[in-house]
């Protein structure tokens, strides 16, 4: 029998969490190293999977299938294709890096790292599940560690933000559950693959597919987030501890985009086409409204949080343009935004930690005290605004080209052009932020502020290497994503 790669990747962090939580008397040092080990192995394995992934085949690979609950025909069914594999790597990479980012956590480290590892397991599980019940199970489990991580280790109004996050997510997933149940009733199956391949006729014969589509998409829209369901995001991102913000913005939001492609578009291609325009308009609102609000922020972290709303608009645009290139672009943007925003949050965390200041109006001139952080922060910022040779450029370019040329939706050209305007605003707020933090006249109160230490330089280097690597040679990812998008296009009839 083949080695169960995906099970190993998903559950190693959870195993680490159990070990850390239940073996008494572990020192802080041991806990940190255990976390490193239990996140590095999944990372190494997922990179290995990426290397041996068959790029010529659009099929699901590394599949595992066991009967789980016979009474409701649920299976323990895992597998990855070209759309989910990049996201698995993204989560595994961030999961490893956030352990390094969390190195200086002193408050209740045992619980902290246990929850962090559990969070990684649940998000990896979402990206690998091919059974709707299993998918929903991982989707919901993720809420619990996130709640604790924000409400115990956060800052500011942390308890408010944590419960707001939970209520929003549960609200979305309540509708999603109703959608999944309807889908299960209509098709008698919980397998995403089977339903996508042959379930449509049955769905339409029993109850309107459009109703199920909308029930499902509410759940994903909360997570992505889509305007007007986005208001949990700035609170949660701002008040979460740095490492958790990195996971939130880097990997967790992608669950929404991934779910839209995997469930909404793949299972309901016709319905998706029918309603694409509404979602594209929402996407453009996300981009422009998100960017405009970002401009007005005075809190460093809150500003980066709002920029995610804007950037996730591109993902939504790319998905519901329903073109081959645009879908590749959307997936690429999910990966790229994960790394870039992860780095932005990590850098913002360092600035805040070292200078004890997060108000943009009071920061300034820090390039003198922290040159390394200033450079890396600038790289991340430039990548975020889509400078060529960074992954941000490759991803956004694909989204725009793909959407503009997509034939699936009428009037898309106008909306794409409106969306492109978002880039201009992004450039505005990113450069303004860099200027306000690093390049104004130096201030005396920051004289003793330190630059990044060795460990921090290590993870910065990893982030920057991935951003530049993908930016210079995007085909390393697009080949894989292309293989995953082809079957979806087949379903769309394109």
């Amino acid at each position: 029998m083949d080695f169960n790669y995906l099970t190993t990747i998903i559950f190693l962090p959870a195993l680490g969490a159990v070990i850390i939580a239940f073996i008494p008397g572990l020192s802080h040092r041991v806990i940190r190293w255990l976390s490193v080990i239990f996140t590095f192995i999944p990372l190494a394995l997922s990179v290995y999977l990426f290397a041996i992934f068959d790029r010529a085949s659009g099929a699901i690979q590394f599949e595992e299938k066991l009967s789980w609950i016979p009474a409701i025909n649920a299976h323990y069914h895992l597998g990855v294709d070209g759309i989910s594999l990049p996201l698995v790597i993204l989560m595994a990479l961030l999961g490893f890096l956030v352990v390094l980012i969390s190195w200086k956590i002193d408050l209740r480290p045992r619980e902290y790292f246990a929850w962090l590892l559990l969070l990684e397991t649940s998000i990896l599980g979402v990206f690998c599940s091919l059974d709707l019940l299993l998918f929903f199970l991982f989707w919901e489990i993720e809420v619990i560690p996130m709640y604790f991580l924000i409400s115990i280790w956060g800052t500011g109004r942390k308890e408010y933000s944590a419960i707001k996050y939970v209520i929003y997510t549960l609200f979305g997933s309540a509708f999603m559950l109703a959608g999944i149940l309807s889908l299960y009733f209509a098709t008698g199956s919980l397998s995403m693959v089977d339903i996508a391949q042959g379930g449509m006729a049955m769905v339409q014969s029993v109850m309107p597919a459009a109703a199920i589509f909308w029930l499902l998409i509410i759940g994903f829209a909360v997570k992505l987030p889509v305007f007007p369901l986005h208001t949990w995001l700035p609170d949660a991102h701002t008040d979460a501890p740095t490492a958790v913000s990195v996971v939130l913005a880097g990997a967790l939001l992608k669950m929404g985009g991934y779910g839209m492609i995997r469930v909404c578009v793949s299972i309901f291609p016709q319905v998706a086409q029918q309603f694409a325009l509404i979602l594209i308009v929402l996407a453009v609102v996300n981009v422009l409204y998100g960017a405009a609000i970002t401009m007005r922020q005075t809190d460093l972290k809150r500003m980066i949080a709002y920029s995610s709303v804007s950037h996730m608009g591109y993902v939504l645009l790319g998905i519901f343009a329903l073109g081959q290139v645009s879908l590749v672009g959307a997936t690429m943007q999910m990966f790229s935004h994960g790394i870039i925003t992860g780095l932005l949050f990590a850098m913002a965390g360092l600035v805040m930690h070292n200078s004890k200041e997060r108000d943009l109006r009071k920061l300034g001139g820090l390039a003198r005290q922290m040159p390394v952080i200033a450079v890396v922060f600038s790289v991340a910022g430039l990548a975020s605004l889509g400078l060529p040779t960074t992954s941000g450029f490759a991803a956004e370019f694909l989204v725009f080209v793909g959407s503009f040329t997509s034939a699936a939706v009428a009037g898309i050209k106008l909306w794409t052009i409106l969306g492109v305007l978002g880039i201009v605003i992004t450039a505005g707020y990113i450069l303004w932020m860099l200027q306000r933090v690093f390049y104004n006249s130096p201030q005396d109160k920051f004289n003793k502020v330190k630059d990044a230490d060795i460990l921090e330089r290590v993870y910065m280097f990893v982030f920057v290497a991935v951003i530049m690597g993908v930016g210079i040679y995007p085909a390393i990812l697009t080949d894989v994503i292309q293989a995953g998008v082809m079957p979806v296009m087949g379903l769309l009839g394109g």
């Binding site: 609950i69 016979p70 929903f136 199970l137 489990i141 308890e159 209520i167 509708f175 309807s182």
Partner: protein, 493 residues
């Protein structure tokens, strides 16, 4: 005519329980070491559970015994096992609590056993008068147990429970009398035959039959704490000894559902329009129940009261299953098996939560949520267990509550109750707020004192059993679902 004595082997679990209760009372007279009483009670329960299991695995066909008043079918066996396990856990959880009483320890255990016996009979009887008797055996034992503390709150709770319970019994009896008056039968199968024998015009021209049905819903609704028959719940839950609160919230509720399911499915299951009628009645009660329970639970400051309102809401979710049974065609078991699975998972979850609360209140002497502040530092295991149970009550994975909701709601969606399911899932979101408030206080609050909160061995065992059960039902529910399906299929009437 077959001699009825040949059926006695099928009645052995009940007899064992009755004998154990008597033995416990007698032993109490002679023994100084009262812990023995708990051990004897648990031994009796385990023996009865073993016999019940044996009857299940010998897979005899469902039979009616004692002049068609008692069914021995897998439906009854499922509930009997459930009650025996619950009673054993409650006794395990009571051991320290009861040790504080100076007198009447034997009576406490005996009454728990007797009420369990009543519940087992409730799940099995197929005849209106026997149902009433079984119900009263359960209720009277519980009235006494609720007042066991003899302090003002406990006495008030007991009196309230007794008075309202007596009214509910009277209403139930009136309903039964009406049904008997219009059908001429008290045996459920005979009632069903009589109703199916009537013409549509015949049933419509006898509104007394429908009135009888509705009055029975009201009478049973008291037992399961359905809105608007829930007024007793918060006060009784707050005043009763905590192990008895746990017992009331799970066992008494499960027994109520067992009776309702059997009566309505057996006697009023056909014709279809009749079952659609009461299905709709339960659907409305479900929607109102979960909304009222959840909304009133939000501002509660006493954890027992909060769980009281939460149990009203949970009864609402359970009634989604009853509504499904009403809407489903006779061969469709989705509603029934979903209900059974939900009851099993709810029982383990709520027991787990209450056991943790008992352990904490043994030390704190308080049930206020604010006093749970920082409990994660003072008693990490208890806090973790209580968190797991609360998460299960919300209906989130990996706990049993998630699977239970998924299962019961999927049955409802299959029978056209999507609107009810949407109300239910939105209610789950509301409930998350108050359950997580407790979690928040425990994990982020500052501890009020540095002292640890210890827990006895008996409590730890009971807590471990229920929490492992909650996890098992949440992650690998296949086995229990299979049992629930079997139980839902085998109905004798």
């Amino acid at each position: 005519m077959v001699s009825q004595t040949m059926f006695i082997p099928l009645f052995l679990p009940e007899l064992t329980l009755a004998v154990t209760a008597v033995v416990v009372i007698l032993l109490d007279l002679f023994l100084k070491q009262k812990l023995v009483l708990a051990v004897v009670s648990i031994a009796g329960l385990l023996v009865a559970a073993g016999m019940t299991l044996g009857m299940w695995s010998s897979s005899l066909p469902p039979v009616l015994i004692f002049f068609n008043t008692l069914a021995v079918d897998s439906f009854a066996l499922f509930f009997k096992l459930l009650f025996l396990v619950i009673a054993a856990l409650v006794i395990l959880a009571s051991a320290d609590y009861v040790a504080k009483f100076r007198r009447f320890q034997g009576e406490y255990y005996a009454l728990v056993l007797l009420s369990a016996l009543g519940m087992m009979l409730m799940a099995a009887t197929t005849e209106l008068i026997s149902i009433y008797l079984a119900l009263e055996l359960t209720s009277i034992s519980l009235y006494i147990l609720v007042g066991f503390l003899k302090d003002p709150k406990s006495t008030e709770a007991s009196l309230k429970y007794l008075l309202l319970g007596a009214v509910a019994s009277a209403v139930l009896l009136f309903g039964m009398a009406l049904v008997f008056g219009f059908t001429g039968q008290t045996q459920l199968g005979d009632i069903a035959a009589a109703i199916q024998g009537m013409s549509l015009a015949g049933v419509l021209s006898s509104p007394g039959l429908i009135a009888g049905m509705v009055l029975m819903v009201a009478g049973f609704g008291f037992k399961i704490a359905a809105v608007p028959f829930h007024m007793w719940v918060p006060d009784v839950y707050e005043g009763a000894p905590t192990p008895i609160t746990a017992y009331l919230s799970v066992a008494s509720k499960a027994a109520g559902f067992a009776v309702i399911l059997r009566v309505f499915y057996s006697a009023f299951g056909l014709p279809t329009w009749l079952s659609l009628d009461w299905g709709m009645l339960f659907a409305i009660l479900a929607a109102v129940g979960m909304t009222v329970g959840n909304v009133i639970a939000l501002p509660q400051t006493n954890i027992k009261r909060m769980l009281g309102y939460s149990s009203i809401a949970q009864a609402g979710y359970l009634m989604v299953g009853l509504a499904t049974v009403g809407f489903a065609s006779a061969g469709d078991i989705a509603g029934r098996s979903g209900l059974l699975f939900f009851l099993a998972s709810y029982a383990l979850t709520n027991l787990g939560a209450f056991i943790a609360i008992i352990a904490i209140s043994n030390k704190l002497d308080s049930d206020l949520i604010q006093d749970y502040s920082g409990m994660a530092k003072r008693a990490p295991v208890l806090a973790l267990a209580l968190t797991l149970c609360l998460i299960s009550l919300i209906g989130m994975p990996p706990a049993a509550g998630f699977m239970a909701k998924f299962y019961i709601f999927s049955g409802a969606v299959q029978n056209g109750l999507l609107w009810l399911v949407i109300i239910a899932v939105i209610n789950s979101v509301i409930s998350a707020y108050y359950y997580l408030r407790v979690v928040k206080v425990m994990w982020t609050g500052k501890p009020a004192a540095r002292s640890k909160v210890p827990s006895s061995m008996a409590l730890r065992v009971a807590l471990a059993v229920s929490c492992l059960g909650v996890l098992a039902l949440g992650i690998v529910p296949g086995f229990v679902m299979k049992l629930a399906e079997m139980a839902a299929q085998m109905f004798a009437f």
